[in-house]
């Protein structure tokens, strides 16, 4: 392990999340010097997959616990500004760059490129609070971006080794935590290093690995290609820059159509747009609630003007189902971003690792024999059937759409056969197996629009099963729990008086960062999750473990229903 580092004064602590790392100073691994209280130490650790920058932020008074953070997915390729802004990628982790090749197609050469900077916490406010509590914060960037599970695990493990070699003096315990892909990375690190890691907090973690995540996206995009935009390429992108152009073209098509959905009742393929898109999302297991549309509240005009009057006046949404349909228009955008840009990156990774030649497919999610009609559960059909049928664009719409989707079953041209070599590579990427080894706490939004909450419950089931198989005399207390944040029960879609559509800003404010969206929490929820993990790690009895759970259950916006379970992940392969 080669080490490079630089050191920064305490004044930078408050701006930890905004720091730009300068050129690192090279030092030898043997010259480990403890990071002083109240300072930020930065550098890079080299591993077999490349160099990983790290950052350590020390509190003024260290409580002995180091929190090692792994950040979430970052798109590996430059994103045109015209796409990055609607996708919310113009954040601190992405830097504006000039990319002249984008100018002809996207009207500007401005693009956003992910950096490999380390983060030590999901937000500045959370970092500052944890430092006040005396935690030392550490985090590693990854040698590559995209689905960087292997790189993240290596970076995290190297950082832990560096900490244990003296980089943080008086370390009593190390807990790992991360968001999204970082949750998967943290769980993997913990599972592989139970003697070095005291506990793990996976937040909105994609715990079940890449296959379910990309199957979700494939379901959305196959439905889109069939019922909405037949020109989508969807998968098996051409190697290199040509393929990147294809992927950007797909993404632009999806975002453009979503942007015009309100005025486009019929898709280019001739199907009802809101219904086709809602069907895509339901079959993929995406939530029917978004930050603006709660799937519950209809426009007050329907009560005051009557149904016909409000419909004629163009007021929306008309019903709970209509609210869900618009929510799905919001949610599919996020799923498509991962499904397109993430897929391109993964296919290129697979080509590189497996040395797959350009004339061979790099697709790793096979959908040739999927029965899409089976992905719509009877309960979804019952709950959303009226909404899916509420159109005169075609007759008997739901059955017609499902029939069209299933009509291509078995076709290797209309569907996407996988290359077994690609499948093996993706299945071999770093991911936790679900073996219970260290105290584990998971938290997720109930309505996660990118990583369905079913990831968390499925992983919890694995941990529970693993614990039950362990030797009763040796296994100790089961220190694992999953928590789900919830939105306001009375709904959050808000209308200005007489408005035809909701007020987005008011609605988002009413939602209050709880329960809906990907890795969206109140600072209190995140901080209490860390505190609950710490209590769980320190618990010497079953009662103390229960007390740790109760502490988090008592947090505003955390579902107190111990028996709650989110919808299970969809399993396309089981429909065959």
């Amino acid at each position: 392990m080669k080490l490079t580092f630089m050191r920064r004064g305490v004044a930078a602590v408050a701006a930890a999340s905004l720091i730009t790392i300068g050129a690192p100073v090279v030092a030898s691994a043997s010259a480990v010097e403890a990071c002083a209280p109240g300072t930020i130490c930065e550098g890079a650790l080299s591993g077999s997959l490349g160099d990983s920058p790290f950052q350590i932020v020390m509190p003024e008074k260290f409580n002995g616990t180091v929190l090692v953070y792994s950040h979430g997915y970052r798109v590996s390729t430059p994103i045109p500004a015209a796409l990055a802004v609607p996708l919310g990628l113009n954040t601190n982790a992405y830097k504006p760059i000039s990319y002249p090749a984008f100018a002809p197609s996207f009207g500007s050469s401005v693009a956003y490129q992910a950096s490999n900077e380390a983060d030590v916490a999901p937000s500045k406010v959370v970092a500052e609070n944890l430092l006040t509590q005396g935690y030392a914060l550490a985090g590693a960037g990854y040698a590559r971006q995209g689905w960087a599970a292997n790189e993240g695990v290596e970076a995290g493990q190297n950082l832990i080794g560096y900490i244990n070699s003296g980089a943080i003096a008086k370390t009593k315990k190390i807990m790992v935590w991360g968001d999204s892909l970082g949750g998967l990375i943290s769980s993997t690190i913990a599972e592989r290093n139970p003697n070095k890691v005291a506990g793990v907090l996976s937040s909105c973690g994609v715990e079940e690995g890449p296959m379910p995540a990309f199957n979700t996206a494939m379901t959305v995009l196959q439905t889109w290609k069939t019922l909405i935009a037949p020109n989508l390429k969807v998968a098996n992108y051409t190697a290199g820059a040509v393929g990147y152009g294809e992927a950007l073209g797909d993404l632009a098509t999806v975002l453009t159509l979503l942007g015009g959905a309100a005025t486009t009742p019929v898709t280019p393929a001739g199907y009802p747009f809101p219904q086709a898109n809602l069907l895509a999302g339901l079959m993929a297991g995406l939530p029917t609630k978004s930050s603006v549309y709660d799937g519950q509240t209809r426009n007050p005009a329907f009560a005051s003007l009557g149904t016909l009057g409000a419909l004629v006046g163009g007021f929306q949404p008309a019903s709970a189902g209509a609210s869900s349909a618009v929510a799905m228009l919001q949610n599919v955008g996020a799923a498509a971003a991962l499904g397109i840009l993430g897929r391109y990156e993964m296919e290129m990774k697979v080509r590189q690792i497996g040395q797959i030649p350009p004339n061979e497919s790099a697709n790793f999610t096979d959908n040739v024999n999927v029965r899409y009609s089976k992905l719509l559960s009877p309960e979804q059909r019952g709950e959303f059937g009226d909404t899916l049928n509420a159109t005169t664009v075609i007759s008997n719409p739901l059955n017609a759409m499902l029939g069209t989707l299933d009509s291509t079953r078995g076709s290797t041209t209309a569907r996407f056969p996988a290359n077994p070599k690609a499948v093996a590579i993706v299945e071999g990427l770093a991911a936790p197996k679900g073996t219970y080894k260290v105290p584990t706490l998971m938290i997720t939004t109930t309505y996660d629009t990118v990583v369905p909450a079913g990831n968390t419950s499925a992983f919890m089931n694995k941990l529970t099963a693993s614990y039950k198989k362990q030797n009763k005399a040796k296994r100790g207390n089961f220190k694992a729990a999953a928590f789900y944040t919830i939105p306001p029960a009375d709904g959050w879609t808000k209308f200005d008086p007489g408005a035809k559509a909701p007020n987005s800003a008011l609605s988002v404010a009413a939602l209050g960062n709880s329960g809906v969206g990907h890795c969206v929490y109140t600072p209190e929820q995140t901080l209490n999750a860390v505190a609950a993990l710490s209590k769980m790690v320190n618990a010497k009895s079953a009662q103390k473990v229960v007390a740790a759970k109760r502490f988090l259950y008592a947090t505003p916006g955390v579902n107190k229903d111990r028996l709650f379970k989110p919808d299970a992940l969809k399993q396309p392969s089981k429909t065959q």
């Binding site: 709660d294 799937g295 519950q296 149904t307 016909l308 419909l311 008309a318 019903s319 709970a320 189902g321 009877p378 309960e379 979804q380 059909r381 019952g382 709950e383 959303f384 059937g385 009226d386 899916l388 049928n389 509420a390 159109t391 005169t392 007759s395 008997n396 719409p397 739901l398 059955n399 029960a489 009375d490 709904g491 107190k560 229903d561 028996l563 379970k565």
Partner: protein, 424 residues
Amino acid sequence: MRFKFATGTVALGTAAALAFATAIPAQAADPGVTSNKIVIGTTTPLTGPAAPGYKDIPVAAKAYFDYVNANGGINGRKVDLKVFDDQYNPALAKKGTSQLILRDKIFAMYGALGTPTHSAVVQDLNRRGIPDVFVNTGGASFDNAKKYPMTFPYFPSYVVESKVMGYYMAKDPALKSKTKCLFYQDGEFGDNAKAGFKAAGTTFATTTSYYSGQQVAPFSAQISKLKSAGCELVVFFGVTSATAQLLGTAAKSGFAPTWMITSVGSDPSVLKGTLGAAAGPLLKGIYTPSFLVPAQDSKNAYVSQMQVIAKRAGLEWNFYTYYGINTAYVLAQALKAAGKNLTRKGLVKALETNARNFRSAAVVPMVINSKSHQGLTGYYMGQYNASSEIDRLTKYVMVATSSSSGKAKQAAFRPASPTKKLLP
């Protein structure tokens, strides 16, 4: 002294053990049951567009339970029915169900209404082991004891109903030679109907459909299609508000076929309210299946006693009041059969083993056992009279299953008399 001391220790230990033993009941009580109360819950539209008619059901059920409570309750416990207004909104049904489970600690769900609304919660109720008794929808998907072991439909599924309609149309000399057409609501409702007619071997000259909510505007295009196809008998599978729109639009366009209307689209009180003075002539002669003794048959012992309960509670006598009291009466019998040591498992067992002994105003057999939770299994054919009431047309009943295969068959069924004072 030493011996005495030792004896004292033993005695003390035994007493402590006994005290401990008595502190923990032999079987931990399920939520919603105390020594003197049973809490049950329901979600149903009390407000909003779907409320007319349906809102009367829980009020009537409450009136019946009040009557039972005033007469000593069930095995010494009074029934407390908690009602949540879901406005026929699945998201609100989820919220309400959660509230009933977590806040009100219900023992069982009873009479939850609607396919979209109940589809949103049925898995959760079953996963938690909460009895989900007498669901108020004919959606055939709920008739699945293997998948939903805690769920018990009450009225026959739409598949059963369409099989029965098919059977009757093939048998009745006045109908069998008519050119038949089908008008249905898209979705599970219509899919169930088509499945039943297919199993019955019924063919239609043409079919047309509407989507839920479309009935706010006239069905002009659909009527035009039916008219041009020369339909002489139109079977309609839609909700009551759509029936009113259909009959109104058809009358205005001079289209007057023989109509056969699904039971859930046939409520006389709602139709009369919507169609006004035109209801009488428009409804007269329309065929519609039914499974309860006609509501206007005051000579019937069930109807007369239920009318008394409704009147004492100040309720208007209509089909929904009648239906609400009737299902509450059956549930009360099931709760009594579950015994004094009331548990959720015990209620399920009571339903699965005693259903054939439950009394009610239904004139068709009820089938509930460990393999089937079908509930009521068939219909008689009814017909609107000049007073817009539904008369019983057939002395026999027709029964079928919710399976996508198998036809309806004629059956003789003689319901047992009501229990004394209509108490469980």
